[in-house]
C-alpha cells in the first residue's frame, strides 16, 4: 500500500482523519486509487473501520512538499539550544490561577 512510486493507473494518495470535531486532521496513512472519488471511498474503507473519525481529507501524494532528511541538521538542530523558547521560564503570579 505505502508504495514509493506511482503506477500509471492508480497513483498514491495521503489520508488525513479528523478524529472528532475541533481537532485537526491527522495523517494516518496512504493508499492507491484511480481518482479522487475512489481515493475517498478507499480511505473510508481502509482507515475508518473502527470509528476513527468524523472527517477525511485526501491529498495526492505528489502534492506534498517534504523536507529532505539530509537537511534535518540544518533545519531542526539549531532549535535544540534555545530552550528559552519554551514558556516554562516565566513565573505566573498566584492571582492568575489557571491560564
Amino acid at each position: 500500500m505505502a508504495g514509493t512510486g506511482k503506477t500509471p493507473t492508480t497513483p498514491l494518495w495521503e489520508v488525513f482523519i479528523r478524529s472528532r470535531g475541533g481537532l485537526a486532521h491527522r495523517h494516518v496513512g496512504s493508499l492507491h486509487a484511480a481518482d479522487a472519488t475512489l481515493a475517498l471511498h478507499a480511505a473510508r474503507d481502509l482507515f475508518t473501520r473502527r470509528g476513527e473519525g468524523v472527517s477525511l481529507w485526501i491529498v495526492p501524494a505528489s502534492a506534498i512538499i517534504a523536507s529532505d532528511p539530509a537537511d534535518a541538521g540544518m533545519l531542526f538542530e539549531p532549535t535544540g539550544s534555545k530552550i528559552y523558547r519554551h514558556p516554562t521560564f516565566y513565573e505566573v503570579p498566584e492571582e492568575v490561577g489557571h491560564m
Partner: protein, 259 residues
C-alpha cells in the same frame, strides 16, 4: 453431514424476517469470497466491509425471527442448519461473483433497492424492524454510492471493461424483478403497516439506475423483459447449494464448535 436441518414454522412475520436475513447473509457471504482475491487491497477491504455490514443485518433479522418464532432456534441455526430449499433469498444475491463487473453490478442492483427499501421501512409500525432499517439504510446507501462509482468507471472505461459490464448486466438483469415481488403473506404484513410493498420501489429504482447507466454509457434493459423468480419460495439456482455446502460444513460436522 452430521447434523440434520431444523424445521421452521414460517408464519408471515418469521418468513418475512428470514427472507430479508437470507438476502443479506448470502450476499455478505458472496462478498467474503473475494477476500484474498481482490484486484487491489483497497477494493478487497471494501468488499470485506460490505460483507460485514450485510452479515450484521442478517444477524439482527435472524435474531428477530428467532424471537418471534420462539421455537428455541438461534441465529446460527437459521444460517447453518437449513438446506437450500429452506433458504428464502433472492436469486440475484446467490449468483456467483464472476468478474469484478458482475460483483459490482450485482451490488449496484441490490443496494439501489436495499437503500430505498430500508429507508421506507424506517416508518414500520414494528419497532424492531424500524430499528434494523435505520441501521441498514446507512450501510446500503454507502454500498450503492460505491457500486455506482465503480459501474460508471467500468462502463465509461476501456472497451474491455465496457464489454464486461454489458455482459454482466445481460446475465444479472433477469434476477432483478424478484426484488419487487410480494406474496399473500407479505401483503398481509403490508396491510398491517409492518412492512412496505416493494413494488412501490420499482419506478424510483429504475430511475436511479438510469442515472448511473447514463453516466456509464450503458443502456438500461427494457423494463418488460422476462424475469426469473423462485428464490423467495426456496426454488434456487444450482449455485446456492455449493455456497451453503462451503458455509455450513464446519458447524454441521462439528456441532457447537468454538474457536
Amino acid at each position: 453431514m452430521a447434523t440434520t436441518s431444523i424445521s421452521v414454522a414460517e408464519t408471515p412475520l418469521v418468513l418475512y424476517a428470514l427472507r430479508r436475513a437470507d438476502d443479506a447473509l448470502i450476499l455478505g457471504h458472496r462478498l467474503s469470497q473475494w477476500i484474498g482475491r481482490g484486484p487491489t487491497l483497497e477494493e478487497e477491504m471494501a468488499f470485506g466491509n460490505f460483507g460485514l455490514d450485510l452479515i450484521g443485518q442478517a444477524r439482527a433479522l435472524y435474531a428477530y425471527a428467532a424471537a418471534i418464532e420462539a421455537a428455541g432456534h438461534d441465529e446460527d441455526d437459521f444460517a447453518y442448519l437449513r438446506d437450500a430449499p429452506q433458504y428464502r433469498n433472492l436469486l440475484l444475491v446467490e449468483q456467483p461473483n464472476g468478474d469484478f463487473a458482475v460483483t459490482m453490478l450485482r451490488q449496484l442492483f441490490y443496494s439501489a433497492f436495499a437503500d430505498f427499501y430500508w429507508r421506507a421501512m424506517m416508518t414500520s409500525r414494528d419497532a424492531t424492524l424500524a430499528a434494523i432499517a435505520a441501521k441498514s439504510e446507512k450501510e446500503s446507501a454507502y454500498h450503492f454510492s460505491h457500486a455506482a462509482e465503480w459501474v460508471i468507471r467500468l462502463g465509461d472505461g476501456t472497451a474491455e471493461s465496457h464489454a464486461r459490464t454489458e455482459a454482466a448486466c445481460e446475465a444479472l438483469w433477469p434476477f432483478t424483478g424478484e426484488m419487487f415481488e410480494s406474496d399473500a403473506a407479505e401483503r398481509e404484513l403490508c396491510d398491517a403497516g409492518t412492512i412496505i410493498d416493494p413494488a412501490s420501489l420499482r419506478v424510483p429504482w429504475r430511475a436511479r439506475l438510469g442515472e448511473v447507466f447514463a453516466a456509464a454509457g450503458l443502456a438500461l434493459p427494457a423494463p418488460d423483459r422476462w424475469m426469473q423468480r423462485g428464490g423467495r419460495s426456496g426454488r434456487h439456482s444450482e449455485h446456492l447449494g455449493h455456497l451453503l455446502a462451503e458455509m455450513q460444513i464446519l458447524p454441521r460436522s462439528f456441532p457447537g464448535a468454538e474457536w
